[in-house]
């Protein structure tokens, strides 16, 4: 570009006065080097070929604006994507993207504005990709495209994509504006600044250099003040580490090397301010350097992940290998190990390994296995993937293995997938092929993922047996991980393990794996440690000392989060996959201290983030910026630092509401790590001298005062930690919740919890209600108090006094549901019911009018014609658990004989003593009536409870499956929300 053209390009900007600020893209002319920009490229053919990363680099020998341009080199057919950080949009309308470009040959490029709508009314995220192709010539030329945005997305990123068009491309001077045509190019600010460091996206604690780039886009000299900060917005940490003035020549750039002592661990933002603006930030995780120590999975616990890094599910190739800007696959394994990863559960996709009979593509698997081993990561190969289920039109529908398989009916997934029974000869041959190939390099093989969602135990165990015998014949040293039952999708985890055990499965596996989705953390409805004890119990029943592994748990949420997601229309798989560092660390610690031998819970991509486009509502994998270890990765790094090589691990419960682990550090010191089970609880920790305290990332915490303990684990290390610390609740009592009950007398139940180790006497009042109540709460227990009211309010305040202090607790009152008087007939669209509370038990008479009998599925009574009965014997308690069931909630199912030949039956949840029930189900045509007496003893109580909530739901099937659900008081969510039940008044 000539200088006169350069001036002309600025002319309209000068006229407009503020036009320089109109372009929101930072570093749009690459004068700040590669600060803030990203590229990724990936091979979308097949995974068999090794992928060579394509470079993106600054070229100072040619530019359309300023001194630099960006050079993208793609010599062969592939795909290369280039992105700027996300920028804010200003609503609906036409946007113009303009850029300068030239190429070494004429060719086509794609320019797009990529955004995604937030989740609306239960709909998944919707991508909004507005694109146009441009024909690029070999001379610098300015191009522009216009795109129409709906305004639903708040942010977008500009992307440039080379689709299968090999070329070397130079680009410069990007601009985005809300206009019908491009105005003259102007950078985002007269003076721009950016920070950057070369890959990887983490550094170990210590001194390192970082680069400050300064660009004066104006024609006059400038003096600017720069203040650089290191911060972690989530924890509130912020530190100014550089403050200086710089003189900048007209239209010049300057690069300054700054040595910084990186001491604060976490995923941190490095940014700051420059006179009149902000410094283009960069993101970096600061980790503790882990000791270089061999890992022996036979004797020590290791944390692991699922799936290799650098895999993107491409629309044209399901298993594309991706290379992000300035990184390669090996660097990603180095990053995983630096984050504390010791295991990788490698999903071996049989379909991709052997797409055609006898044609094997080992390359990608070999390369990954070698990189794992080289970097201290032990591979666990998962076998059977892509072979045991098929979706209609799925990628494996015409695969030779599936074609030779016997097809079964649909699986437990509701997505319409059917199950395949691979021919046993094919299965054995596959096992032989894989184990033979990896003999000496891979020792651990897991046999099928979550077979309990696909097969019955009788169907699975033969495959396990065949795999075990075949693998051991090839490599007697290999270890077979079997059963792999999951707790989600109503998987009946324990039942499946037990049934497999009865069929002799424990002879055919060295290790039992499972996926504890139904008890993710210790705050869950079934606390994780209880589930682990149950699994241990079952496994030990069949073969004592069998190691148990947690081989997958992508979603780790607290009870509160899970409850919120269960009731939120905006919950999505992406929300579910959001992993908090404290939750990953807690799960690792729970596994570690409850006898689980290995844990490979998260997915590898949950340990990295591409943070430059945070506000774009799309999974990180679709952002092109280089990966940075996430906060969970930093927490895992701390786990490895403290816990690798540990001995004497055990669970501790220093007081009710606080859980933890204790163990002996590899250097012989004592370690205890503790956390509040409920993230909203708060405790004060004080420690004796000599005990060091660290946060969940391994940052030291001053131990000379009271340390706040919440749901985030805190580490204590010293010579005598046991007995060297004290905990006390910040608030000795809390209000767990309030619930309104309708009926002849309206009242509100307020549940209180005494968090102290001694009994306390409290005076309680509900604001707006006359009079108070005095209640004595035994140590660490909960009790509900009832306040008669004239009308219900959704928001209320509970006032509590311990005699010295008065504390007000605002509460959302759980709304009242229907109420019916005991012995009174209640009408329903399907008929009627009468519920009667008697001294000895509960009596139900339920009449159902039905016009046609339908089918039902075995073990799923709710799928056909069925009366579902829900009972809650303590509806006034556990009001903090969003309606999740407790052990005094019961479900009963009464079903008439089904059209597909299943007999009438009465079944119930496991906590009902069904042998004590007295029932009679009479069918008259399609109509049926149930007379049921439930003795209190069948519900594990001696007499009638103070309050009783219940619901009667009638499910109807006129054909193959349920077509209608009609509850009396609640809704379809009754199965997970007891707060929907109505009440029975005496």
């Amino acid at each position: 570009m000539t200088s006169s053209k350069y001036f002309l390009s600025f002319f309209p900007a000068i006229l407009a006065g503020f036009a320089l600020a109109a372009n929101p893209i930072p570093n749009s002319s690459f004068e700040l080097g590669v600060s803030g920009i990203g590229t990724c490229n990936y091979h979308k053919g097949t995974p068999r070929e090794q992928w060579k990363p394509i470079s993106a680099e600054i070229d100072s020998s040619t530019a359309a604006h300023g001194k630099n341009s960006l050079k993208l080199t793609m010599p062969e057919k592939a795909e290369c994507e280039f992105s700027f950080p996300g920028v804010a949009l200003s609503g609906q309308g036409i946007y113009t993207i303009s850029l300068y470009a030239k190429a070494d040959r004429a060719g086509k490029i794609r320019v797009q504005l990529f955004s995604s709508h937030p989740f609306l009314k239960g709909k998944p995220e919707t991508w909004e990709v507005k694109l146009q192709y441009l024909n690029i010539t070999t001379e610098w030329k300015r191009y522009e495209i216009q795109v129409k945005c709906t305004g639903l997305a708040s942010h977008a990123m500009i992307q440039l994509i080379l689709d299968d068009n090999p070329m070397t491309l130079w680009v410069d001077g990007f601009q985005l504006e809300k206009a019908n045509q491009a105005s003259a190019y102007s950078p985002a600010a007269p003076v721009e600044a950016g920070l950057d460091m070369p890959q990887p996206g983490y550094r170990f604690v210590g001194k390192h250099d970082l680069s400050l780039f300064l660009a004066n886009n104006e024609k006059n000299a400038k003096k600017v003040d720069v203040e650089l900060t290191e911060s972690d917005p989530k924890s509130g940490y912020r530190k100014v580490f550089h403050k200086k003035s710089y003189d900048l020549e007209p239209e010049s750039t300057k690069t300054v090397t700054i040595s910084h002592d990186f001491q604060h661990r976490g995923m941190l933002t490095y940014g700051g301010t420059i006179t009149g603006g902000k410094v283009n930030p960069f993101y970096l995780a600061v980790l503790s350097e882990l000791p270089k120590k061999a890992f022996n999975p036979e004797i020590e616990f290791g944390a692991g992940v699922n799936d290799p890094p650098s895999i993107r599910r491409h629309r044209k190739a399901k298993e594309a290998v991706i290379t992000w800007f300035q990184t390669d696959t090996e660097m990603e394994y180095v990053r995983l190990r630096a984050s504390g990863v010791r295991w990788l559960r490698y999903w071996l996709r049989w379909l991709y390994l052997e797409p055609v009979e006898g044609e094997f593509h080992w390359e990608i698997y070999d390369a990954n296995i070698d990189l794992m081993r080289k970097n201290g990561i032990e591979p666990l190969i998962l076998l059977g993937d892509r072979a045991i289920t098929t979706k209609k039109g799925g990628e494996n529908a015409n695969w030779f293995i599936v074609k030779r398989s016997r097809q079964g009916k649909r699986t437990q997934f509701s997505s319409g997938s059917v199950r395949n029974f691979p021919a046993m000869d094919d299965w054995k041959r596959h096992i032989r092929d894989v184990v033979t190939h990896f003999k000496g390099r891979v020792r651990y093989y897991e046999i099928m993922n979550e077979p309990n969602l696909i097969f019955d135990p009788e169907e699975y165990v033969p495959y396990l047996k065949a795999a075990y015998e075949t693998a051991k014949a090839v490599d007697p040293n290999c270890k077979i991980v079997g059963i792999c039952a999951t707790g989600d999708y109503s998987g009946r985890l324990g039942e499946f393990i037990d049934s497999c055990g009865k069929l002799g499965a424990f002879q055919y596996c060295d290790i039992v794996s499972f996926h504890p989705y139904s008890a993710q953390l210790d705050s869950d409805a079934i606390p994780a440690e209880i589930q682990l004890a149950q699994v241990h119990g079952i496994v030990n029943h069949y073969r004592k000392e069998t190691p148990i592994w947690n081989s997958e748990l992508y979603y780790i949420h607290s009870l509160r989060e899970n409850s919120k997601m269960a009731t939120s229309p905006t919950a999505s798989p992406r929300t579910q996959a959001m992993l908090k560092p404290e939750h990953l660390l807690r799960r690792m610690l729970i596994d570690f201290s409850n006898g689980i031998a290995q844990s490979q819970a998260p997915q590898s991509n949950q340990l990295s983030i591409n943070p430059y486009a945070e506000k774009i509502e799309v999974m990180d994998i679709w952002k092109n910026f280089r990966p940075v270890p996430t906060p969970p990765a930093v927490a895992l790094n701390a786990f490895s630092l403290f816990a690798e090589g540990a001995k004497n691990m055990k669970r501790i419960q220093p007081r009710l509401g606080v859980n933890g682990s204790s163990f002996t550090h590899r250097d012989g010191r004592e370690v205890a790590v503790i956390w509040a089970v409920d993230e909203e609880d708060r405790f004060h920790l004080s420690v004796k001298p000599g005990i060091q305290v660290f946060d969940l990332f391994g940052n030291p915490i001053a131990a000379n005062g009271k340390i706040l303990i919440d749901g985030r684990p805190v580490w204590m290390i010293g010579k005598s930690v046991k007995g060297g610390y004290q905990l006390e609740p910040v608030c000795p009592y809390i209000v767990r919740g309030a619930r309104a009950f309708d009926g002849q007398k309206k009242f509100v139940a307020v549940e209180l919890f005494n968090a102290t180790p001694s009994s306390i006497k409290l005076t309680v009042r509900l604001k707006g209600v006359k009079g108070n109540r005095v209640v004595e709460l035994p140590a660490q227990s909960a009790k509900s108090i009832f306040f008669p009211v004239l009308k219900f309010q959704s928001d209320s305040t509970v006032i509590i006094s311990d005699g010295k202090n008065i504390t007000s607790f605002p509460v959302k009152v759980i709304p009242p549901r229907k109420a019916v008087k005991s012995g009174t007939k209640a009408g329903m669209p399907y008929g009627s019911f009468t519920a009667t509370q008697e001294k000895a038990g509960l009596r139900f008479a339920i009449r159902v009018k039905d016009d046609a009998r339908g089918d039902r599925t075995e073990k799923k009574p709710w799928d056909g014609d069925c009366i579902e009965l829900f009972l809650d014997l303590a509806p006034e308690l556990e009001l903090n658990r969003n309606g999740l069931y407790h052990d005094r909630v019961f479900r009963l199912f009464a079903v008439p004989a089904s059209r597909n030949g299943l007999p009438k039956a009465l079944t119930a949840s496991g906590n009902v003593k069904t042998n004590l029930l007295k029932w009679n189900l009479k069918e008259t045509g399609a109509d049926y009536q149930l007379d049921l007496f439930i003795p209190w003893t069948a519900l594990n109580v001696e007499s009638a409870p103070e309050l009783l909530a219940f619901d009667v739901t009638v499910n109807n099937s006129d054909g193959e499956k349920r077509n209608r659900t009609t509850p009396w008081a609640g809704g379809k969510e009754n199965y997970g929300n007891r707060f929907l039940f109505g009440t029975l008044s005496k």
Partner: protein, 332 residues
């Protein structure tokens, strides 16, 4: 809880002069009102000296007040030696404004001076009380007197003189029932333009009911150092151990104080008090402070065996103080 000090205040010389003048007026009007009757006559308005034009309606007496003219209701109290009495009554001043005050005064000025008390006139029925100790038997005059700035009505009902039992004199409770703030009064030297004293709903208190609100007005100067109230006199014995308890809260975290003051020493114009600092927050907290009253040797004026309560705060960020259930209890 920190005990600030046993310290002293100078009593305003002008105030003493004013009180003497009031008593003179009261004595003249009482004599003009006719003879006082014997004991238990307090519920009989015919046995009271009343302002001119007073009308009686059952238990209520109502007197018209003329601007600038002092009037009094008065009667005699029959006191036994060594006993404490509480005098209580309800009154209402239709047309009063916030500057208007009325007083309770005694015929034996020297002996009962500390029990003499001024109260803010309230436009709603307000119950007030004061305690006295009779060192010897006697029949002093008791008067309720008022000099309004503008014409209004002085209504009085349920006047009671009650001899305290040993239990009653060991415990004093000021309950914020209705407009009980009338029981408390801004300290004499505080300009009523700078602070307001009201009762408010205590919806966020564990007992509900009402609380006293002491708030600075926007007119209060930045330099204002102290804002506090006095209570009427209550039984108080030298050398005894006491506990004050009261619920506090404030608009902003700060420090309040609570304590007791007793009669000045003869001829010194000084009065003595004990104050205890109380940290205040926006949540109700109960303050309980124990102290021992000085001995008669140390404080001879405690032979009057009455004291008054103090409660207040040092203005800063904190501009409003709420309190409730002020209680003084003698400990064994």
């Amino acid at each position: 809880m920190e005990i600030v000090s046993f310290s002293e205040h100078s009593l305003n010389r002008k105030a003493i002069y004013k009180m003497k003048k009031i008593w003179l007026l009261f004595a003249v009007s009482a004599l003009a009102g006719g003879l006082f009757a014997a004991e238990n006559h307090w519920n009989d308005w015919n046995k009271w000296a009343k302002p001119k034009g007073t009308t009686i309606n059952g238990a209520e007496a109502s007197a018209p007040l003329t601007a600038g003219k002092r009037v009094s209701f008065s009667t005699k109290a029959f006191l036994e030696a060594g006993e404490w009495y509480t005098i209580s009554f309800e009154c209402r001043f239709a047309g009063a404004d916030k500057k208007d005050i009325f007083r309770i005064v005694f015929g034996n000025e020297k002996e009962f001076q500390f029990s003499e008390q001024t109260f803010n006139c309230q436009t709603e029925w307000t119950r007030s009380q004061v305690s006295i100790y009779a060192e010897k038997a006697g029949t002093p005059f008791v008067g309720l007197t008022m000099k309004p700035a503008k014409a209004q009505t002085f209504e009085l009902r349920n006047p009671v003189i009650h001899k305290l039992s040993p239990e009653e004199r060991a415990k004093t409770v000021f309950v914020e029932d209705g407009n009980m703030a009338g029981c408390w009064k801004l300290y004499g030297s505080i300009n009523p333009e700078f602070a307001t004293l009201t009762t408010v709903e205590a919806e966020d208190h564990i007992d509900g009911g009402r609380a006293v609100k002491l708030a600075l007005t926007p007119n209060a100067p930045q330099t204002m150092k102290d804002c506090f109230l006095n209570s009427p006199a209550f039984p108080f014995e030298p050398g005894k151990k006491y506990k004050i308890s009261v619920w506090f809260k404030s608009d902003m975290p700060g420090t309040a104080y609570v304590g007791a003051a007793w009669p000045r020493e003869k001829g010194t114009k000084k009065r003595y008090y004990v104050n205890m600092n109380v940290p205040c927050s926006v949540d109700w907290k109960k303050c309980e402070a124990e102290f021992t009253a000085p001995s008669l040797e140390d404080q001879p004026m405690l032979n009057r065996r009455v004291a008054r309560g103090n409660i207040g705060f040092n203005p800063g960020a904190m501009k409003t103080l709420y309190f409730k259930d002020w209680t003084l209890e003698q400990l064994p």
